[in-house]
Amino acid sequence: MADISRARAAGGLQRHPLSRRRVLAAAGIIAAAAVSGCTRNSSDGTAPDRPSVDATARDRILDDKAALLAVYAATIERHPTLRRPLDGFVRRHTAHIDALKRALAATPTNSATTTRRPHQARIAPQRSMAVRALADAEQAATESRRSVVESALSGTFAALVASIAACENAHALLLRAEADR
């Protein structure tokens, strides 16, 4: 029988320790690089003079995130009972913004990450519809990340964006469950 692993890789099921170490090493490298902002900015490893493709994509995602957070804020303002259920969603988006700003640190962001809050009239008066609209926005966000992941110059940045997209996908599922509650 394969060995026990306390690692989360393979869900704690493990066939042999070497495999576990390999997964953890890979994940650790990603995490360390994501936090430090280590990245390859061009095919020859030198920093380009103009903002890289990745930095431009990062700024676009930051703008998206600001808009998304504005919709959350407006939704909570319209439906104050949603403040608590939505708190974790807002915190995770904020964590994404922080990580994105740390990523590609050599290229400062041009994104202001401030977007005017949508007028409350645009938020559905029914709680369930308002939550469903958030789910749709999360779904659109996750789908829009695909091209960034595929075209990123840095594998580290691609993995960070893919993880953020995965979180947004999970958000969409959780929000639909909340809407149906």
Partner: protein, 146 residues
Amino acid sequence: MTATPERELAAAQTALAAEHAAIYGYAVVGAHLSGDERARAIAVYQAHRRRRDELARLIAAEKQAPTPAAAAYRLPFAIESAQDARKLAARLEDGLAQAYAALVAAGGKDMRGLGASALAEAAAMAAGWRGSTTAFPGLAVGAGGN
């Protein structure tokens, strides 16, 4: 990090190993659930079998032997209830998310696309079983926001 065929292949093998483990694990999960949850576990089990086959095909196309499944896997904790089964299912998806995030980091465009889709599915599945998610599925970023 630079994508190379060797790194991409190694990451694909690791993802395949995680799929093998998940398939084994979901058989256990399904046995401890009933009704809609059991049906969901069976559907997810089938989805993981398809993903396993897809990865094995891609690896074989590179003239490499796909990592085989172990004969058995030791579970990380005893599964004695539906609650245990849900917890195991979420853990399985966490493991897959790690493997697919590594595949995205190591892969070329096509493999990144596969990895990103599988990572997104794993995060949603984990959220479905657990009722919550983390800010960075598949990554060990301690950025909180859970």
